[in-house]
Structure formats: structure tokens, C-alpha cells
């Protein structure tokens, strides 16, 4: 079981309270597609339409919706810190059995989310904040990979 200090919990929940799920979720997913996924993993997004250039990715309705969904899940983790592995079990099975996503991508998306939060919050995204959130994305990535076999 992951140990969270009182300070870490406070830093995570205070940042989460100010996050715009719509904006940050869409942005994180779009950046992930551009940085990591583009262009060789378009196979994950054949249903998302044309993703061949940044213009088609950023602002793509499917990316916006999916980004919102992904970040809402992160929010579930942020508000449920003591039970992440259990609460992500079915999502983990989904990513393994149905979506076939390489678990490496979970860490990468987490890192990208850090950069998105940093650009939104500026100096308020302090080193202590970053450390707490970096730990959270690591725990979420681990939980998502847990049911893989």
C-alpha cells in the first residue's frame, strides 16, 4: 500500500481542485499524441479521424472527449489516494485485453500531464507540488499496468 504524507495529500487535492478537466485533459492527450504517439500509433485512434498533423489533433472533438475521460479518472485517483490499485483494476483489464496499450505509455502520459499542469499553474506548481503529483502519476501508471498478463 502506498504511503501518502499529509503534505502530499494536501498538495494533490489543492491542485486538483483548480484543474479544468476539460482543458487540461484535452491538452495532455493531444500532446501525448503529438510527442509520443504521432505518427506511429495512429492505430489507437483510427476512430478519431484524421490525426496526421497538429492542427487536426488539437481541438479534435474525439481527443477533447477522450482527454476529459482520462483526466476524470486521474481525478478519481487524486480523491481516492488510499485505494488506487483497487479502483483502477477494471480499467487496467480494459487497457490490457481490449485496448492493447503498452503500459510504458501510462508513465509518458503522466509526464506530459505534469508539463500541462506546469504551464497552467506557473510558479504555483512548486517543486513540492510536482513531486507529489509525479508520485501520483507513477502510482496510477502502476495500477493501470497491474492487471496486465
Amino acid at each position: 500500500m502506498v504511503h501518502w504524507s499529509a503534505e502530499e495529500k494536501q498538495l494533490i487535492t489543492s491542485v486538483w481542485a483548480k484543474v479544468s478537466v476539460e482543458e487540461c485533459g484535452a491538452e495532455a492527450l493531444a500532446r501525448w499524441v503529438l510527442l509520443i504517439v504521432y505518427p506511429w500509433t495512429q492505430r489507437f485512434f483510427t476512430k478519431f479521424g484524421d490525426m496526421s498533423n497538429s492542427g487536426n489533433v488539437i481541438g479534435n472533438g474525439n481527443v477533447v472527449n477522450h482527454g476529459r475521460r482520462v483526466l476524470t479518472s486521474f481525478g478519481d485517483a487524486a480523491t481516492n489516494l488510499d485505494n488506487i490499485k483497487k479502483s483502477f483494476a477494471s480499467l487496467s483489464k480494459l487497457h490490457c485485453k481490449k485496448l492493447h496499450v503498452d503500459p510504458k505509455n501510462f508513465r509518458l502520459l503522466g509526464d506530459i500531464l505534469m508539463v500541462v499542469l506546469a504551464s497552467h499553474f506557473g510558479k504555483d506548481f512548486t517543486p513540492a507540488c510536482q513531486a507529489a503529483w509525479q508520485k501520483l502519476v507513477c502510482v496510477v501508471a502502476h495500477a493501470l499496468a497491474h492487471e496486465y498478463h
Partner: protein, 141 residues
């Protein structure tokens, strides 16, 4: 591979920092020590409290090296040859740590540049830092 557009975006971004480069170096290191505690094992001789003279001095060195790299993006291997030797034969930092510093540098840049740290700039910088890391590790074995 860094495209011409990537190189232009990186140079423009670095130009926007208006003298804050050294602060960013120290901030990136500080963030790295916080978010990735094992990186501290390479600095047992340092005072690692935030704002320490040693962190500021080392941040300055790191940023100076990156500035050199940015001025020589067409020839990174040659421009960073000395640093590459240093990391391979002297410092022997495990290359996984280069990614941690890259991540923290990008977070530091993003806190300062906000929306100007656009997805395109983010992508270019990520590629650039990856190329720098490769050069630093190229003589390891």
C-alpha cells in the same frame, strides 16, 4: 531527428527566457531532487537545500552546456564531446537520470512560459533533450 522547424522553435523559446536561464537551471535541479530522490545519490558532497549556492552553481553549468548545445544543434556530438567524455569516464551517471532532468527542465520551462510552451515547442524540446542525452551516453560502452 530534429527538423528545421524544431530547431527554430527551440532557439526562439530559449531566446524568450530573458536572462532567466540560470534560475531555470537551479529550479530544474531542485525539482529533480524533490521528484526523483535517487538522483541525490550523485551529489553527496552538495548542500541540497533549495537555493543553495551549490545548486545554483551547478544549475548555471547545466544551462551553459544546453546553451552551447542549442547553438550547435547540427553537430551535437562534437559540441558536447568533452561533456560526453566526462559523463562516460568520470561521472558515470546512469543514463536513466538524463530523462528525469529533461522532465524537470521541461516542467520548469512550462511554469515560466505558460501557453508559450505549446505542444509544438514541448515536442521539439523533448526531442532535443533526448538527443542531448544520447550524446552524453554515447561513449558509455
Amino acid at each position: 531527428m530534429l527538423t528545421a522547424e524544431d530547431k527554430k522553435l527551440i532557439q526562439q523559446m530559449w531566446g524568450k527566457l530573458g536572462g532567466a536561464e540560470e534560475e531555470i537551471g537551479a529550479d530544474a535541479l531542485n525539482r529533480m531532487f524533490h521528484a526523483y530522490p535517487p538522483t541525490k545519490t550523485y551529489f553527496p558532497h552538495f548542500d541540497l537545500s533549495p537555493g543553495s549556492d551549490q545548486i545554483r552553481g551547478h544549475g548555471k553549468k547545466v544551462v551553459a552546456a544546453l546553451t552551447t548545445a542549442i547553438k550547435n544543434m547540427d553537430n551535437l556530438s562534437q559540441a558536447l564531446s568533452e561533456l560526453s567524455n566526462l559523463h562516460a569516464y568520470n561521472l558515470r551517471v546512469d543514463p536513466v537520470n538524463f530523462k528525469f532532468l529533461s522532465q524537470c527542465l521541461q516542467v520548469s520551462l512550462a511554469t515560466r512560459l505558460g501557453k508559450d510552451y505549446s505542444p509544438e515547442v514541448h515536442s521539439a524540446v523533448d526531442k532535443f533533450m533526448s538527443a542531448v542525452a544520447s550524446v552524453l551516453a554515447e561513449k558509455y560502452r
